[in-house]
């Protein structure tokens, strides 16, 4: 739901809908990301790396939730599968450069298979089924000791290439940056392809989509596979960043954190994913700052309170998240003299009684 001023029909399918100025802005951001390690300490570079990893996971979630309208509460399962598969393959002697795509593809296949029951399910039932899958995968990770190392966890091998350790802070940041940009580019292109448009059609109304000839089942399967693919990449990267994996890292709480990330960043937008990821990483630091200012020192309630209130307030007042805010502000300046009150007012779709 971007406020694009259209001047031709081609514009709708272009990669950047607003043409040149948009390229310019993205190039500025890219340049900043490239030189950031020169100015920032290792600690901040680590934070940036986490943002990039979460952004990749967020792309996967956005495809599923934001573009196809399928609510999953089991994204942590895909992260876990990607992480464990990649680490297992590396321990079998495969190089990271091969293990990563293999793990991502494997996660994609698993995603497609797990998506099968989803073809019959909608809304809450789907959320519950995916949540169940999340719990089951967590349990399998704890029990299948041969592959996963069980509850004691497993250490993650270093990535080396050409005699150079890639899994150290700064090189790993660049690795994640490259993968994040590639993923964004890949996802953006999928979303303007017929597949992506079919996804949007299914999201808006699957019955209508079916009646214009969209294979709903196929589209949903593709969405699950793609989502799992991206999330798998993120899982593998996260394993290397944490350098230690155990089942308790992949709980329902992580899935809900990812959901929060998508909602705060802005649902239905790839840009929103990056905002959301930045927010998710910055929030704990912000809360720690606030805590330092409080008289009592520590306040354990602050974190869940901020988490919960944000979810509620965003849904109540700004359902399009940070991205929506940004678009409103830029839209306001772009349309400066022509701006009317209520231009960006939300429409309420009283599509009541969608019994699941």
């Amino acid at each position: 739901m971007r406020y694009v001023l259209r001047t031709s029909y081609r514009q709708d399918t272009r990669l950047f809908k607003e043409g040149l100025p948009q390229y310019g802005w993205y190039l500025v951001w890219l340049a900043l990301a490239l030189v950031a390690p020169l100015f920032l300490g290792v600690h901040l570079v680590s934070q940036l790396t986490f943002i990039l990893i979460f952004a990749i996971a967020g792309i996967g979630y956005q495809i599923l939730l934001g573009y196809t309208g399928l609510l999953s509460l089991g994204q942590a399962a895909f992260l876990a599968i990607g992480a464990y598969a990649c680490v297992f393959l590396e321990k079998q002697g495969l190089h990271f450069a091969l293990a990563l795509p293999a793990a991502a593809l494997l996660t994609g296949v698993v995603g497609a298979v797990l998506g099968l029951p989803a073809l019959r399910l909608k809304g809450l039932y789907l959320a519950m089924a995916t949540m169940a899958i999340g719990f089951i995968v967590e349990e399998v990770a704890a029990r299948w000791t041969f592959v996963t190392g069980g509850n004691s966890g497993a250490s993650v091998p270093r990535i080396e290439a050409f005699g150079y350790v890639l899994s150290r802070d700064v090189p790993f940041y660049f690795l994640c940056l490259a993968l994040c940009i590639a993923s964004l580019w890949f996802a953006a292109n999928i979303l303007r392809s017929p597949t992506g448009r079919a996804m949007a059609a299914v999201r808006d109304s699957d019955i209508a989509a079916q009646s214009i000839g969209v294979e709903v089942a196929q589209v949903k399967t593709k969405a699950f596979a793609l989502s799992a693919f991206f999330t798998g990449i993120a899982g593998a990267l996260m394993a290397h960043k944490l350098s230690f994996i155990s089942p308790e890292q992949f709980t329902l709480h992580l899935s809900i954190e990812l959901l929060l990330m998508i909602l705060i960043g802005g649902i239905g937008s790839l840009r929103g994913v990056v905002f959301g990821a930045a927010f998710l990483v910055a929030m704990p630091e912000l809360i720690a700052e606030i805590e330092r200012m409080l008289p009592g020192g520590s306040q354990p309630a602050l974190r869940p309170m901020a988490f919960g209130l944000l979810l509620v307030l965003v849904m109540l007042f700004e359902p399009r998240g940070i991205n929506g805010l940004v678009e409103k502000i830029t839209g306001y300046f772009r349309l400066m003299p022509l701006y009317r009150k209520g231009m960006f007012a939300r429409q309420r779709g009283f599509a009541k009684s969608e019994r699941w």
Binding site: L71, A129, A132, I136, G308, W356
Partner: protein
């Protein structure tokens, strides 16, 4: 055989707690089509309130229970009025996310109370420590109390829905909100009432759980088990919620005893996946096809 029955009985008693929470869950869903992920946290608040009145203020047990149950019910109704009323008409998933957020807020609120936060506490009842023997089967009095209380509450609900005006109105709303409005049912007060009742039931569940499984800030995760229970029972069926909850409890208990480690933890979720794949509308659900 004795072993088997022993496991079944112990599964039934924990299943009754699931069933009560699931009942609250389904009540809200039927009246307002809201999927309430904060239900476990409501139960936690109810249990802590009970603890405060019984242990800290040392009120008599019955009085403390009544105050705790009413306070939780009012809290639930307030949540509905403040946070969920404005969400009417938003997509169902947005409402679900709001309830997830409310769950976090409730947990944070509990963390802010010094006597509650980061402490695990327990309510000792006069029954604690004594056991009931049915032939060779042993069951603790606290567990037996859970089963009896659940039976009483379920009977009460049955009467409420079949015999009272408000109960009939709630049934009508759950069938068709629009038609109910035309027939003069005040749908808004019905949805507040649903939350009120659900709050009361979950508080009862929390109080029943307190002597057998401790009270702590994260006990709300038990509420997550109520959702599979509700789904197994068919999501919009009140008897289904009860059966689903008890079935779940028994399955977990038997899986814990007879199957290798790990199965009992995921038994609920495997059961849900099986039910959803074979019979997505649940054991007691009615199929509703969307008209184009």
């Amino acid at each position: 055989m004795v072993q088997f029955l022993q496991q079944v009985i112990s599964g039934v008693s924990i299943g009754c707690v699931y069933a009560l929470i699931a009942l609250g869950f389904v009540l809200i869903y039927k009246a307002t089509e809201t999927v309430n992920f904060a239900i476990g946290e409501l139960m936690m608040i109810g249990a802590f309130l009970g603890f405060t009145f019984i242990v800290i203020w040392s009120l008599p047990l019955w009085l403390a229970a009544i105050i705790a149950i009413s306070a939780t019910a009012l809290l639930a109704a307030m949540l509905e009025r403040v946070f969920l009323r404005p969400m009417v008409g938003e997509p169902a998933f947005a409402i679900l996310v709001v309830t997830i957020g409310l769950g976090f807020c409730l947990r944070a609120a509990a963390l802010m109370v010094p006597e509650w936060s980061s402490e695990t506490v327990r309510i000792f009842t006069p029954l604690s420590g004594s056991v009931v023997r049915l032939g060779p089967i042993v069951i603790s009095a606290d567990h037996a109390a859970v089963i009896v209380a659940t039976a009483l509450i379920v009977t009460g609900f049955f009467v409420f829905f079949k015999r009272t005006r408000m109960g009939l109105a709630m049934q009508a709303v759950s069938q068709s909100q629009l038609a109910a409005t035309y027939m003069g049912v005040r749908t808004r007060s019905v949805s507040t009432l649903a939350w009120l009742l659900a709050g009361a039931i979950t508080a009862v569940a929390g109080l029943l759980l307190a002597p057998i499984a401790f009270i702590h800030v994260n006990m709300g995760v038990l509420g997550l088990k109520a959702i599979p229970a509700a789904i197994i029972g068919g999501f919009s069926s009140l008897p289904g919620a009860i059966v689903g909850g008890i079935l779940l409890g028994v399955c977990e208990s038997l899986a814990g005893f007879y199957l290798p480690a790990g199965f009992s933890e995921v038994a609920a979720y495997i059961l849900v996946l099986v039910v959803l794949t074979i019979r997505p509308e649940g054991l007691f659900g009615e199929t509703i096809h969307k008209r184009v």
